[in-house]
Amino acid sequence: MSQLAWLVPLFPLLGFAIIGLANRNLSKSVTSLLGSGSILASFVVSLLIFFEKVSQPTPTIVHLFDWITVGKFSAKFSFLIDPLSTIFLLVITGVGFLIHLYSTGYMHDDDGFRRFFAYLNLFIFFMLLLVLGDNFLVMFVGWEGVGLCSYLLIGYWFSNTDYNNAAKKAFIMNRIGDLGFLIGIFLIYKQLGSIDYQTVFNVTTLSKISPSAITAITLCLFVGATGKSAQIPLFTWLPDAMAGPTPVSALIHAATMVTAGVYMIARSNILFSLAPLTQDIILYVGLGTALLTASIGLFQNDIKKVLAYSTVSQLGLMFAALGVGAYSAGVFHVVTHAFFKALLFLGAGSVIHGMGGEQDIRKMGGLRQAMPITFWTFVIGTVAISGIPPFAGFFSKDQILAEILAHKGIGITAVAMLVSLMTCFYMFRLLFLTFFGNFRGTQEQKHHLHESPLSMTIPLMVLAFFSTVGGFIGFPHGIGHGMGIHHWLDGFLAQSVAIKPSHFSAGQEWTLIGVAVGLLAGIIFWAMKTYLTDGKIPVKDSEMEGFQKVVYNKYYVDETYNSLITKPLNNISAGISNFIETKIIDGGVNGIGSFTKWLSSGIRTIQTGNVDLYFFAMTISAMLILLIKLFDK
């Protein structure tokens, strides 16, 4: 079955091609069928592969064709099927399918329905390439490809300039990261002479090159990851990316694409394990991002923005996990996060759908009666992300905290915990403001309120199910030894684990769980008191002041970037264009011409037309020549 892995990306590609080319000639229902069906087919194949791999865990390589072969450099277009890629395959196709299904309902009235599905299928295709690739270059193909799809989908409603700007920003920021990735690939090739995983991820080979080189490689790769996974300093595009339709936010900007960075680092775990410096940087960047964005999330009033910052923050936690070498914990969190974040986004989408496009939670409230399914699934999602046992988020988050504790001690863990608590707070804030209290929107909206169609609620329910039980695939290490996902990844991570084993006891684990649950409960009560009992509504934008305003405006990071990078770039460019180019360089070239003309205007006046003068000129020059010739001895 593994040999048929090429089928997995093929289905979405075909879906894209058919929908894209047929475009107008395809009815909406056929489009939905093709769009979702192709992903379902991929999912089925992925499942089959998964089951095969369960029984036979050795990696399989599927070679399709030689892509770029130049001199010693060779990049094959081949796929690697191993536990890690299999997990991602399942998540991508599984969650992807649900979101496709959801989209058939959500986007039903949109003009660009077919275009939307074409893009989504293309995205799935590239995402699958990313995780299936057998070498860094194929990963890079998927890496850039998903960036493109992200661009296309963020700017899906292309009439709106803001959306277009958001799309552009996403693409360019990703490109900055991509450059890092690319340089990383060059470094790998330069140092190791190959970019195949088999060759590169080999401890004996790696031990031959200097640690600083590995650090450089990993740093470059990490720069790539910060772009794709929206870490400091390249995180600002993700909240803006919410300009796209909500299923896109769910699929790309929450569940799959943004976790590509995690995948990449997990994939290259050996490299990172050999570069402690990079690991530390990853840890601090991850935690910093998590903390920063979580705090921004506390004050956001746009339902999707809250989720977006929450996503960045969760990604930060995943990176923190990677930073301490807990790759399986990071991947685990990717999986659970995919479930509940997709769920939350789709729930939010359902809300927006019901509200007729309204996204400001200050104008919502009391929706639970009108949208019961959405409400209940949203509750599950909130609980899951907050890390309340036994929901999915609890297991993965706990794992991360435990790993951080084990490697970095209590101080760093406390920060991670703080992030977790903030997440809990703003998620419940969101929940309460949206679904409880009184409706604060217009009458028209109130009249319009309705539960979403089945095509939207079924995915919600399925995802809610997984958000509930999904955590059990990775029971805490310390408690249930060698269970689920860890066991699954053990073989894959063996080399890294050998470098940096993690030890912690069941006692520590239980303590951590206790502390976490206790604190979370406190936070939930606080949130409940503030928004449910007191019925506090966030103030209008204009009334914000002080620290709140700073945080609400995302610490003015965008503005800072703007004045530090964008504006100077524009000014310098304008300067080059208007001064250096036109005045100096072109001016110099034209100057030669003008100079010649100036000379000409001077020299031609010698020819006065006066024979008299000609006689003089001739005689004098004759004399000069004679003089020179006769007396230069």
Partner: protein, 109 residues
């Protein structure tokens, strides 16, 4: 020191013709009347003739006569030139009523 005629060295003849030649050049530069200028050109040619005759005497043992023939040709050419030159002068005068060289400067720059 070579004497061309008794008591007069070759050098003197050369100098004489140089002086005449220079006077001719000076005349060309000095005057504006085309006819005079033309006359000065003739003067230059005569200076050359004089020099050639002097040299022919100097080379009389070998090729002296060819120099004299050369002078003869120069005279012929001068005559031909004068005929054409004066015709041109007349033509110009017909159209411009002037023989002033500075008057003719339509063609310039």
């Amino acid at each position: 020191m070579q004497e061309i005629i008794q008591g007069v060295p070759l050098q003197h003849y050369i100098w004489l013709s140089c002086i005449l030649f220079s006077i001719g050049v000076m005349g060309v530069l000095y005057r504006r009347n085309a006819i005079i200028i033309f006359m000065c050109v003739e003067l230059m040619l005569n200076a050359v003739n004089l020099m050639l005759v002097a040299f022919s005497r100097y080379h009389s043992a070998t090729t002296g006569s060819s120099a004299q023939v050369f002078v003869f040709f120069i005279m012929a050419v001068a005559a031909a030139e004068v005929a054409v030159g004066l015709a041109i002068l007349m033509m110009v005068y017909r159209n411009t009523k002037s023989t002033d060289i500075d008057f003719l400067n339509r063609l310039k720059f």
